[in-house]
């Protein structure tokens, strides 16, 4: 047990192995994501009753909140992977960090867009400069900065190092987003879902929310697999295994 896990990780760390592994994992992950997503949407859009105060409008919650969680979760993953990449110079960690960024940015954008739509109805304005909204916007900028920096370098590994550096510095923002509602008084509502304690939300709204959260996690894994595969091709362009793939797909 204590020996095969490092061994397995080491094997997986080799790009061609990971390329193949990700290729096999991807269909499963996206399949699961779709399945969970459909179930959650059915539960959220059809089964769950209208909210007592908000009517049907609250149904945005089923995408807003999981997206918001993912935007933070993915940033954390990216930060950890960047740290590993900078300290131990593991190519795969670089790939995971850098390819997480676009997915995270997508979820952050969704959070902002859906939040705005919701806010237009709930608060009468689609944007205010309160702490939660602003720090989430800053999160988007951080993601974009990481992506931009990565691609701005000619040498990808150099880019990964520079962007990883930025990602680590930006980790400070993650707790700020999460606790902003607590630290400052904001228009945005506080924590309602509590994984460990009592959640302040009806059960038939809670389960689709949690299912959707799992679906987005699965989607992240699937998307990351696809992106990492593409990135590995770019990164290892000179290696034989990639050239074989290139030659193979020419036919």
């Amino acid at each position: 047990m204590s020996t095969w896990i490092p061994l397995w990780l080491h094997r997986l760390g080799s790009p061609p192995t990971f390329y193949a592994f990700a290729g096999r994992l991807r269909p499963w992950a996206i399949g699961l994501a779709l399945l969970l997503g459909i179930v959650a949407l059915y539960g959220g859009l059809v089964l769950a009753p209208p909210d007592r105060y908000q009517g049907d409008d609250y149904r945005i919650i089923f995408i807003h909140v999981p997206s918001a969680w993912m935007s933070l979760f993915i940033y954390a993953v990216m930060g950890v992977a960047s740290f590993v990449a900078l300290v131990w110079r593991i190519k795969l960690a670089e790939v995971v960090a850098m390819e997480s960024a676009p997915v995270g940015a997508a979820f952050t954008f969704i959070t902002l867009a859906t939040g705005s739509l919701w806010g237009e109805r709930m608060w009468g304005t689609w944007w205010t400069w309160d702490a939660r909204l602003t720090s989430e916007l800053v999160l988007l900028f951080l993601y974009l900065g990481v992506i931009g920096l990565y691609h701005a370098f000619e040498d990808r590994r150099q880019g990964a190092r520079a962007a990883g550096f930025l990602a680590i510095v930006g980790v400070v923002n993650v707790p700020i987003v999460h606790f902003s509602v607590k630290w400052w008084n904001t228009l945005h509502q506080g924590s309602t879902v509590n994984l460990f304690g009592q959640s302040h939300i009806a059960g038939d709204m809670l389960w689709p929310l949690l299912t959707m959260m799992l679906a987005t996690k699965c989607y992240y894994v699937a998307s990351l697999c696809g992106r990492a595969r593409a990135d590995l091709l770019a990164l290892e362009g000179g290696k034989d295994w990639v050239r074989r793939i290139a030659a193979g797909e020419a036919r």
Binding site: T134, V138, F141, L142, L144, G145, G148, L149, A152, F153, E154, D155, Q158, R161, A162, F165, L166, V169, G170, N173
Partner: protein
Amino acid sequence: MSRAPLSRACAALLRRDLVLAWRQRGDIALPVLYALIVATLFPFALGPDLALLQRIAGGVVLLTVLLAMLLALDGLFRGDLEDGSLEQLVLSPQPLAPMLGMKILAHWLTTALPLIVIAPLLASLLHLPAAAMPALLLALLLATPLVSLLGAVLVALTAGTRRSGMLLALMLLPLCVPVMIFAAGALAAAQQGLPWTAPIAWLGAALALAVVLAPLACAAALRIALDA
């Protein structure tokens, strides 16, 4: 044969940058003039409503100074990168972090300091109440080196790239927001006659941290950037 002591090297570098800035004093004056233009055009853009101007004066001065600094930030390493001086600096037997600290200091002295000097003028152009002036100056004295230091790290990160401009701006935004919030907070409190030491203290603490860490981060970032 004699090794160059660190202090001598720092002095040489600081002196070089200051002399260079003096030779190209037109370029130092640019941010100052830019700030002046903003302060001059503002009343035209908004119409000459005195109470309105007075109300927004503090924020506008802060913002203007910060933006004028950002303008100049981009050039922090550009010249040295293009003519090969940066390579010579990195290859010198001196530790890189203090050297970069000197460069940042020179940059602050030549861009931010003139801005701080004219800030009272800008403020009175916009009819800022005199009572808020100390808070404004103190906020600027703390906020500008903070922006210089943190900005330098980002500039170093983008030094090796082609598309530095956009990236820099992208990365600077999240950085400026908190600085702005604290500085503007102090100013607003002062304008309303409330105590304004707390946000200033926060800025001071952040500055102390940045003085120590930013040159190190800058050196690390620059080594990454040059490795191409």
